[in-house]
């Protein structure tokens, strides 16, 4: 419901009220008509009054005549008194012979009547003087009272009429006006709740219904606006949070119609400066469009094809410097499929391009160094093997010669002292030759290992889907003799298949299991567990043993070339794990070790699930 102050608004400017205006018009009409009537009625009031006084005077005179004829001349005045009063005379006087009777006073205007003497004794006439108020004053007073009463009656009627109009017309209309004003300020809770059955009641109910509809639509619009504002803020915040410069370009004239903060920062301009300018004015600082095919414009490409276009583009800065930008343009189409706007995403890749160039140079240098290293390894290994073969051959020749020499010396007759001395020399020579042979054998092994590692780094990998469980069983079968002789218990868990080079995986697992068997602790029964776990991107395989274990300091070294840890009571060159590491890396995986000395070790390696055949890394040692 509307407030009381709204209902009484008309009081503050009541002259503007329709009720007052209607009442005024009506009253003017009434007054006018009243005055016209009064004009007709009162215009000859003086004459009428005069005639009435005269007529009354004649009537009283006649009555006096009758009284005197009846002989009541002495009491004439007493008998005439009521009639005189009734006629409005203020005084009367009868002059008859010697008698003179006066009633009232002699003020005002006088009317004289002469009556014949009815008595035979008296011949003189009787004079009757009747005094009445001045006609002019009487009429004026009458008119004044009439008009005053008319004025008062008009005012009273006017107030009544105004009240009626206010009560039944103006106030409901005023309530409607107040409610409309309240609604216009946004307060749609206002309701008239009229119970009237007339037209204004219907209007009020229609108003209530209309306001209800407006309120509902307003609330829906507010909610929609709020959602829109939220979405706008979200989009704006998201766009401004992006590091890529984004602008929206009008497809008709290439003018920028929207930008994000990164775009403004990238080109060092304000939003007001950017909006309305063409994309080439802002990004190239030139008045002309890019001219394909020499200057490939992604905006032009996207506009022509109606599809997404992406390219690298050179942009000019305010200071004249050139930046390399990675541009991605996506078209925005209307309902008819016509491109109307383009979303232009630019990323400054100048630094990245410079870094890429540096990396390319480094990669070339590295590649060159690798090639040199490969050749060096191959050449050195080959060249070292040749003298080693000679040393090996000549050491055997020396051993044979020494044997012949020992037989010849045995035929000679020498003293015991000389014989003893000869035996010592013979033994020293034999030991030296054996030492040379052992060293040659060891060096040959090392060179072979280096050559094998070098070949492994260059060998082409052939990825295929491998059933790991079957492969592990095959490997364990090949190591059956060692497993049985060392009484090792091997547990194999469920292993997921993997796409990789079969030979490499065989060598990796074979090496790790072989190492686990070799380095078991003889004081307790050996136990080896092969297990795996799978993540989103790769499979990880574990080879866990309860062997000697490796100290924490050695864990990082054992994958390096010729590095061995712990007691050196097992033959080997320290090449196995380096070889394994190289193979794992070529598959894009990694290998690591967790170990506690005296308790055992766990070697783990990962192989990516998705193997790119072309992308397999060539690791060269």
């Amino acid at each position: 419901m509307i407030g009381k102050h709204h209902k009484d608004d008309w009081v503050h400017n009541w002259r503007s009220s329709v009720a007052v205006k209607i009442s005024g018009a009506v009253l003017y009409a009434i007054v006018l008509i009243g005055f016209i009537v009064a004009l007709f009625v009162l215009h000859n009031a003086e004459d009428q009054l005069k005639e009435r006084y005269l007529a009354d005077a004649d009537r009283i005179a006649y009555k006096a005549l009758l009284l005197t004829a009846e002989g009541n001349s002495e009491n004439v005045m007493m008998h005439l008194n009521p009639s005189i009063k009734e006629a409005g005379f203020v005084g009367a006087e009868i002059i008859c012979c010697s008698t003179n009777a006066l009633w009232g006073n002699r003020t005002g205007e006088a009317i004289e009547r002469t009556l014949p003497q009815a008595s035979t004794r008296e011949t003189r006439p009787i004079h009757l003087m009747l005094y009445h108020p001045p006609v002019q004053e009487t009429v004026t007073g009458l008119r004044n009272r009439f008009f005053l009463m008319t004025a008062i009656a008009t005012l009273v009627f006017g107030f009544f009429l105004t009240w009626v109009i206010l009560r039944f017309i103006s106030r409901p209309v005023q309530e409607l006006v107040s409610a409309t004003r309240q609604a216009a300020t946004g307060d749609f809770s206002v309701r008239l709740n009229s119970t009237r059955e007339d037209e204004l009641g219907q209007l009020s109910r229609f108003f209530d219904r209309m306001i209800g509809e407006i309120q509902r639509e307003f609330q829906e619009r507010q909610q929609a606006e709020e959602a829109l504002r939220h979405t706008h803020n979200f989009v704006r915040t998201t766009l401004d949070s992006m590091s890529d410069g984004i602008s929206v370009i009008d497809a008709h004239n290439f003018k920028i119609i929207g930008v994000n903060a990164a775009f403004l920062e990238e080109y060092g301009i304000s939003e007001a400066e950017a909006l309305g300018k063409t994309c080439y004015e802002v990004t190239h600082h030139r008045p002309d469009q890019c001219q394909p095919p020499n200057d490939v414009c992604p905006v032009y490409l996207s506009l022509q094809s109606g599809e997404h276009a992406s390219t690298e583009h050179l942009h000019s800065n305010n200071d004249g410097s050139i930046t390399v930008a990675e541009i991605s343009v996506s078209p925005i189409k209307n309902e008819d499929g016509i491109v109307v706007q383009l979303v232009h995403i630019s990323r400054d890749i100048t630094k990245r391009k410079a870094d890429e160039e540096k990396m390319r140079i480094y990669a070339d240098e590295l590649h060159e160094a690798n090639e040199e290293m490969k050749n060096f390894t191959s050449i050195v290994s080959h060249d070292l093997k040749a003298p080693l073969v000679s040393i090996n051959g000549f050491s055997h020749e020396l051993a044979d010669t020494l044997q012949d020499l020992r037989e010849l010396l045995g035929q000679l007759t020498i003293s015991d002292e000389q014989k003893k001395r000869l035996d010592e020399c013979n033994r020293d020579l034999h030991e030296s030759v054996n030492f040379i042979a052992a060293s040659v054998t060891r060096m040959d092994g090392l060179i072979n290992s280096v050559l094998a590692l070098s070949r492994a780094g260059r060998r082409e990998l052939s990825p295929e889907l491998i059933d790991m469980e079957t492969m592990v069983q095959t490997i364990l079968k090949s190591l059956g003799h060692q497993i049985e002789s060392n009484k090792v218990c091997i547990t194999v868990s469920e292993l997921p298949p993997v796409t990789a080079d079969r030979i490499s995986i065989e060598q990796i697992i074979g090496n790790l299991v072989d190492n686990a068997i070799k380095f078991l602790d003889s004081s307790r029964p050996g136990h080896i567990e092969i297990s795996s776990e799978s993540s989103l991107f790769d499979n990880v395989y574990h080879v866990k043993d309860n062997g000697r274990g490796i100290s924490e300091a050695d864990c990082g070294k054992i994958f390096d070339l010729f590095q061995r840890a712990g007691i050196q009571d097992v033959a080997g060159e320290g090449m196995g794990l380096a070889y394994v590491k190289a193979l794992v890396r070529r598959h894009g995986g990694r290998i690591w070790c967790k170990s506690i000395k005296g308790e055992g070790s766990t070697f783990s390696f990962s192989i990516p699930k998705e193997q790119k055949i072309e992308g397999m890394r060539k690791v060269t040692l």
Partner: protein, 120 residues
């Protein structure tokens, strides 16, 4: 309303001298524009234009309607009270009632007529 009330009292009491003064007062106001509302507004420190009845933006006659109204009332009163009282005996009362009604309702046919004629 004030003018109408005073005129009503004077007419009812039939004060000819008072009516003469009343007519003189109206003529004075019409000549000087020192009307009571204007003087009161000045005393209150208000802008006299705020109490002006002028609504005509471009008046054809550069003379206030209120002043013309006073001249006309004075003329009609003088004519009806002193010159032709026998014929126009009703007119002073008509003017008195009309003035009171104009004061109450804000509708003054005479003022409307003057504005129509081009007074400001």
């Amino acid at each position: 309303l004030f003018l109408g009330g005073v005129l009503t009292v004077l007419l009812y009491l039939h004060l000819q001298i008072g009516l003469a003064i009343y007519i003189g007062w109206l003529v004075f106001e019409g000549l000087t524009n020192w009307r009571l509302p204007v003087l009161l507004a000045k005393l209150r420190g208000q802008d006299p234009a705020e109490v002006s009845c002028s609504r005509e933006k471009r008046p054809r006659i550069n003379f206030d309607t209120e002043r013309a109204l006073r001249f006309s009332i004075a003329s009609f009163l003088a004519l009806s009270v002193f010159a032709l009282p026998e014929i126009l005996w009703f007119f002073p009362w008509f003017m008195a009632i009309a003035l009171m009604m104009a004061g109450i309702t804000g509708i003054c046919p005479m003022a409307m007529l003057f504005r129509k004629l081009g007074f400001k």
